[in-house]
């Protein structure tokens, strides 16, 4: 996708080598401000982070020496790291599904052409504009075992109270529900935009064939949305893998480590436990996992579109 610009005819091509140099100069000149930031705050940390992972660097400055891959060896044998990685993956799986499906349902409902479109959009999308901390405050309060609205509703209809954030079997689901409420609006907008881009002719033809709305959805809308769906799923997986905020704010990883995601483990080993080098190593293991997942996604999408 990156090559399209190169094939076009350019006036510069006909000019002399002097203007060639000038092109080089102005090209890099335009790129320079971005490049400076890019190199200093992205490339350098990535490289330096790898170097750190090979040292015993500590927050207090002690233990600076190179220790080879000892941090990696330790991490691979660290049950807490695996547990937190497992939690992250678990969250990614159980959050991605509803975050895509509910978004699709929301968009499909609106796409029927409901009145007062702005109202629906506002209510579905507004939570996306909130900071994670606001969402966590809202939901911690609603999940409150004694005073929370949700348990009040449950007891009202004769169901038992749930300990939500305090029950290791439920806490992750509670996080997923809060996350669904918070971010589904984003996927919803992407779906809605894609649906409204499906040319009307498709539907007109189907209408003439007597296909009802239901069948039109499955035979036209869904297939037309496939590329969008693939992109949304990919983005959602990458977003879910980064889970930290809500968990840190609502359960702090508890109860008993049952919701602690790997980013929190990185944070804790590095800052609470001082071990920046070790924590950098865990970051790289996590990064490796993300690269693998991204490559897998890339291969799958390539195959689909080919």
């Amino acid at each position: 996708m990156s090559t399209s610009t190169l094939s076009r005819p350019r006036p510069e091509n006909l000019r002399t080598s002097g203007s060639r140099t000038r092109s080089n100069l102005s090209g890099w000149g335009f790129a320079a401000p971005f490049l400076v930031f890019f190199l200093v705050f992205l490339v350098w940390p990535i490289l330096y982070g790898f170097y750190m992972s090979l040292t015993g660097k500590s927050l207090t400055g002690a233990n600076d020496s190179l220790i080879g891959f000892a941090n990696y060896a330790e991490a691979l044998a660290d049950a807490d790291m695996w547990r937190s990685l497992g939690n992250t993956l678990y969250f990614t799986v159980i959050s991605t599904v509803p975050l895509v499906l509910v978004a699709l349902v929301m968009a499909a409902l609106l796409n029927i052409g409901l009145p007062a479109q702005w109202l629906w959009r506002l209510s579905y999308f507004a939570p996306y504009l909130l900071a994670s901390t606001v969402v966590s405050l809202f939901f911690t309060w609603m999940y409150n075992p004694q005073l929370g609205l949700i348990n009040e509703f449950l007891t009202g209809i004769g169901l038992p109270r749930v300990a939500w954030l305090n029950d290791p079997n439920v806490a992750m689901w509670a996080i997923v529900i809060a996350t669904l409420w918070w971010t589904v609006g984003f996927n919803f907008l992407l779906y809605l935009a894609a649906m409204q881009n499906i040319p009307a002719q498709h539907y007109e033809a189907a209408s003439l064939d007597g296909a009802g709305a239901w069948r039109q959805f499955f035979s036209i809308t869904l297939p037309q949305l496939t590329p969008t769906t693939v992109m949304i799923v990919l983005l959602q997986i990458l977003a879910s893998l980064k889970i930290f905020d809500q968990v840190y704010q609502m359960t702090a990883g508890g109860p008993g480590g049952s919701t602690r995601p790997v980013v929190q483990y990185i944070f804790e080993t590095g800052f609470t436990g001082y071990r920046l080098g070790y924590s950098a190593a865990i970051s790289y293991i996590f990064f490796g996992l993300i690269v693998v997942i991204s490559v897998m996604q890339f291969v799958i999408t390539r195959r689909r579109s080919a």
Binding site: S2, S4, L6, E12, S23, L25, S26, G27, W28, F30, A31, P33, F34, F37, F38, F41, L42, W44, P45, Y48, G49, M52, K57, I112, L114, P115, W120, R121, S123, Y124, A126, L129, A131, S132, T133, V134, L137, F138, M142, L147, G148, F186, L189, L190, L192, N197, P199, Y203, A213, W214, L235, L238, F244, Q249, I266, G270, S283, Y284, I290, V291
Partner: protein
């Protein structure tokens, strides 16, 4: 506001066919009624957290913590919690911190991204392909992976607990460079060629021809970057500890300990923190939705 149609992912989205003029399905069929009912049900579910927070924020602390969970408190509604939160004085400070850091991040991002995107789109220079590839590849780097080295870097630069520590690492948005480049690619070259003949410099062409034509995409990128920066928690949380520098999301995290279990005050603070973007959204709904839809698929 009046016509909140969802405009298509600019810019290449074709002509004006078929966006709202789809089939005349305006009849109130059973299906449509069911759809409205489901949509309304979801909307109510989605509004409940706001409503419950609002109801709580306007209760007295005693009512908020009363074992009888109720929407209508026995002592009536009162703005007491909001008054207390304002007296405490942190929310305005945090809002200001969020505002200027997010504005700085957005401004720097726009400038440096548009410049490099222009070079990638228009200028033929040595190493361009490599640069493009590197920028695209960097899209997959998740920010949380960088927290440890970035923190260490900020330590080394003595920037921890300064606004710069919040701002500087947040201005690199490779995906936005890509979005801008794609937009620039579609601006007809003829527009520039006349200027080139007149001997206009690259920078002049960029500022006087390209940028004015790119307002919608610049707005879209600005919105996306601003919302992201405004709501970012992890990095500002790491980069600052000083109470005077906290941004809204980070500051809000500290109130639980400061107020203890003051439910009404917690909810009042949360609502006040939510307010600015929600208000902005009410006024610029169309632009924001369009902006998010345009930039969203490019990745975050």
């Amino acid at each position: 506001m009046a016509t909140p149609t969802l405009t298509r992912p600019a810019p290449r989205a074709t002509t004006a066919n078929g966006l709202k003029i789809r089939q005349p399905r305006k009849k109130l069929t059973v299906g449509r009624i069911a759809a409205i009912a489901v949509a309304a049900f979801i909307a109510v579910l989605w509004l409940i957290p706001f409503a419950w927070a609002t109801a709580t924020a306007f209760k007295t602390e005693t009512d908020a913590a009363a074992p009888d969970v109720t929407w209508l408190p026995p002592s009536g509604f009162t703005p007491e919690a909001f008054v207390k939160v304002f007296q405490d004085g942190n929310i305005p400070l945090w809002t200001w911190n969020s505002l200027y850091t997010s504005a700085a991040i957005t401004a720097i991002t726009l400038v440096i991204s548009a410049l490099v995107a222009y070079a990638l789109s228009r200028i033929d220079f040595k190493g361009k392909k490599v640069l493009m590839t590197v920028i695209i590849a960097s899209i997959i780097i998740p920010p949380p992976v960088l927290i440890i080295p970035l923190f260490y870097q900020m330590l080394a630069l003595n920037l921890i607990d300064t606004s710069w520590a919040i701002i500087l690492p947040q201005v690199i948005h490779p995906a936005m460079v890509f979005v801008l480049k794609k937009f620039f690619d579609q601006i007809p070259r003829e527009l520039e060629e006349a200027a080139v003949m007149d001997g206009a410099s690259r920078l002049r062409i960029f500022t006087q021809i390209i940028l004015p034509l790119s307002r919608p995409i610049l707005a879209a990128v600005a919105i996306f970057v601003f919302i992201g920066a405004w709501n970012n928690f992890l990095w500002p949380f790491i980069a600052t500890n000083d109470g005077n520098l906290l941004t809204l999301p980070v500051g809000l995290q500290t109130i639980k300990s400061a107020y203890g279990i003051q439910y009404a005050q917690n909810m009042a603070s949360a609502l006040l923190a939510a307010l600015p973007l929600i208000v902005v959204f009410l006024f610029f709904q169309r632009q924001i939705i369009k902006g998010v839809a345009t930039t969203g698929l490019a990745g975050t």
